[in-house]
């Protein structure tokens, strides 16, 4: 085994451990809030953790540092995964997570850039964060900045027309500093995405629109890192990573359950979910 491989495995293990912690934070936060969106937060946990703890240049001590990379959570209802990543990164105290959705909290039901340090732009109304991320990438290009923009969209969200307006614009302006990631868990509120309005073939759609596309297992940290590395090597066009995921991932009674799209776990469910996550490996 080469040193390179060993280092890589160590990195993957560290991110995996951090992702477990992020998942327990999501569960606890939603349990305390009594409402919110566990399913889509858990499906995105490995992707968001990899971005904040491996991929992106950012500085919690200076959230608006101009040289930072940007992350836009276009599927804003997955706010818990973003808040957990920001708290774990040191943008605000971890204790704040228990105040999610409360009247005096800076942690709104959907991300608010003016209330929460580290949130790049307010999102929640689907499709708009993706378009705003394209605008950010364009602004950074104008300034010849080295910063990159990462944006996570949902599969149900991809039914929004603005997603495709923005998807046409980004390649037109060769925004190779932009990486879209599709959290493809195939569940939306009313059922399976493929049963409601199918977005397949997702990769072929973005390829046809002029994006470089990569398909991965969105829970395999090594594949996530590999895709993000590949995106950096692609010049002259944006990259869309189609991340196949499982809604509610790593909590047995939430996995693939559409009911946990927008329902918080009970006290007992919190205990069971955290138990399962902790049993799956070390926390980080």
């Amino acid at each position: 085994m080469t040193t390179h491989t060993t280092n890589k495995q160590a990195t993957v293990s560290l991110v995996e451990a951090k992702a477990r912690t992020i998942r327990t934070r999501i569960i606890n936060m939603l349990g305390a809030a009594g409402s919110g969106h566990p399913g889509g937060s858990l499906s995105a946990a490995d992707i968001v953790t990899t971005l904040y703890f491996h991929e992106m240049n950012h500085n919690a001590a200076e959230p608006r540092w101009p040289g930072r990379d940007r992350f836009v959570l276009s599927k804003g209802h997955a706010a818990p995964v973003l808040y957990a990543a920001l708290a774990e990164s040191g943008y605000f105290p971890r204790e704040d997570l228990a105040t999610l959705r409360k009247i005096d909290s800076h942690l709104q039901g959907h991300p608010d850039m003016n209330k929460t340090p580290g949130v790049e732009i307010s999102t929640g109304s689907l499709g708009m964060g993706f378009s705003a991320a394209v605008g950010m990438a364009l602004g950074l290009k104008i300034d010849k900045s080295e910063s990159r923009v990462y944006t996570l969209i949902g599969d149900g969200e991809s039914q929004e027309g603005i997603i495709w307006e923005a998807s046409m614009f980004a390649p037109q302006h060769k925004l190779d500093n932009l990486v879209g990631i599709l959290d493809y868990n195939n569940l939306q509120i009313d059922g399976r995405v493929s049963d409601i309005v199918d977005i397949r073939p997702a990769a072929a759609k973005w390829s046809a629109f002029g994006w470089h596309t990569i398909e991965i297992d969105g829970h395999n940290i090594e594949q996530i890192i590999g895709a993000l590395d590949e995106a950096k090597s692609i010049k002259g066009k944006p990259t869309m990573i189609i991340a196949n995921t499982v809604k509610g991932k790593n909590v047995s009674f939430m996995e693939g359950q559409v009911d946990f799209h927008g329902k918080a776990p009970s006290k007992d469910e919190v205990a069971q979910a955290c138990g399962e996550i902790e049993a799956s490996g070390p926390l980080g």
Binding site: R70, V72, D112, M113, N114, E120, I121, S122, T123, G124, S125, G127, M128, G129, S131, A132, A133, V134, G135, M136, A137, L138, G139, L140, I142, D143, S145, G161, I162, E165, A166, M168, F169, H173
Partner: protein, 311 residues
């Protein structure tokens, strides 16, 4: 007063002036660069001009993203699509986070003319006025449009400037000092106040002249900033004259007429007559024909004033 120009003509010209002194000015357009006059900016600053194609929603949300990188984004298109089609992008992605985006569409109101009702927005003031934190400006002539567009840059946050296609008489000149939020008394009077905005300001002045011939002293006040409204100036004049006509090229629901009526109902109730589009859609025609058809002429303003005076 002989020269007439459209407020939209001020747009491209002012953008160039702003672009020369401020490298952060970025202009977005939605396939209407010639009509909105942003093509002038494109020619001088091709690297800071982006045509979004026929995709107004993406244009607005991208403008929000650009604003987070320190750009001051001006967004074009026609008022119908900027405020109607892209309403929620403006509401949720620009205004909710209070981002520094200037929404300056042209072709507002029925004076769009022959294109007809689908393109004649009579709801845009209402749509923009209801959004928290949005500044809403409706210039009365070319010079006021120039000043308002330039001042919009100094306001940190979203600004809506309503521009039109119709050529209008000049009321102001190059030296005019436009102050956002300040009503301007253009003519003093004692019997009735005419609060007017946009294209209706010059016709209100004509109406006041005609009313004077009938022995009626009309005060004419230009309300170019509809939000924040100059409450004190409006109340002061209503106290003085006791009768109010509000004139606008917009639905009588939700625009300046509503804003003035809401204010006066609470603070100083007086009889109010609204001259505007009476809750109907527009139609094709020449601008002058349309103004007559929908009751938006100086004659209609005079009649409304006389009605309040029981004459």
């Amino acid at each position: 007063m002989s020269e007439k120009r459209a407020t939209r003509e001020a747009y491209g010209e002012t953008l160039i002036e702003l672009g020369r002194v401020n490298p952060n000015i970025v202009v977005l357009e939605a396939d209407l660069a010639k009509s909105t006059t942003t093509i002038k900016f494109k020619k001088e600053f091709p690297d800071r001009f982006f045509d979004c194609g026929v995709a107004e929603q993406n244009m607005m949300a991208m403008a929000a993203g650009l604003a987070t990188t320190g750009k001051i984004c001006f967004t074009g298109s026609f008022a119908m699509f900027a405020t109607g089609r892209a309403f929620e992008q403006v509401r949720n992605t620009i205004a909710y986070p209070s981002l520094n985006v200037k929404i300056c569409p042209t072709h507002a109101g029925i004076t769009v003319g022959a294109d007809g009702g689908s393109h004649q927005t009579i709801e845009d003031i209402a749509l923009m006025r209801v959004i928290p934190g949005m500044t809403v400006i409706v210039p009365a002539d070319y010079y006021e449009a120039k000043k308002a567009i330039a001042k919009a840059v100094e306001i940190d946050g979203p600004v809506y400037v309503r521009l039109g296609r119709a050529t209008l008489p000049m009321i102001f000149d190059e030296d005019y000092d436009f102050v956002p939020g300040k009503a301007i008394v253009l003519r003093e009077g004692t019997d009735v106040t005419i609060f007017a905005t946009g294209i209706m300001v010059s016709s209100s002045l004509v109406a006041a002249e005609s009313l004077a011939k009938d022995g009626i002293s009309a005060e004419v006040i230009n309300i170019s900033t509809i939000k924040p409204l100059d409450d004190n100036a409006i109340i002061e004049s209503a106290v003085k004259t006791g009768r109010v006509v509000v004139a606008e090229e917009h639905s009588i629901i939700g625009g300046l007429g509503s804003a003035v009526a809401e204010l006066l109902c609470e603070k100083h109730p007086v009889p109010v007559a609204r001259v505007g589009i009476k809750d109907v859609f527009g139609r094709s025609g020449e601008p002058a024909e349309l103004l007559k058809y929908y009751g938006l002429t100086d004659e209609d303003i005079s009649q409304a004033a006389k009605g309040l005076l029981g004459k």
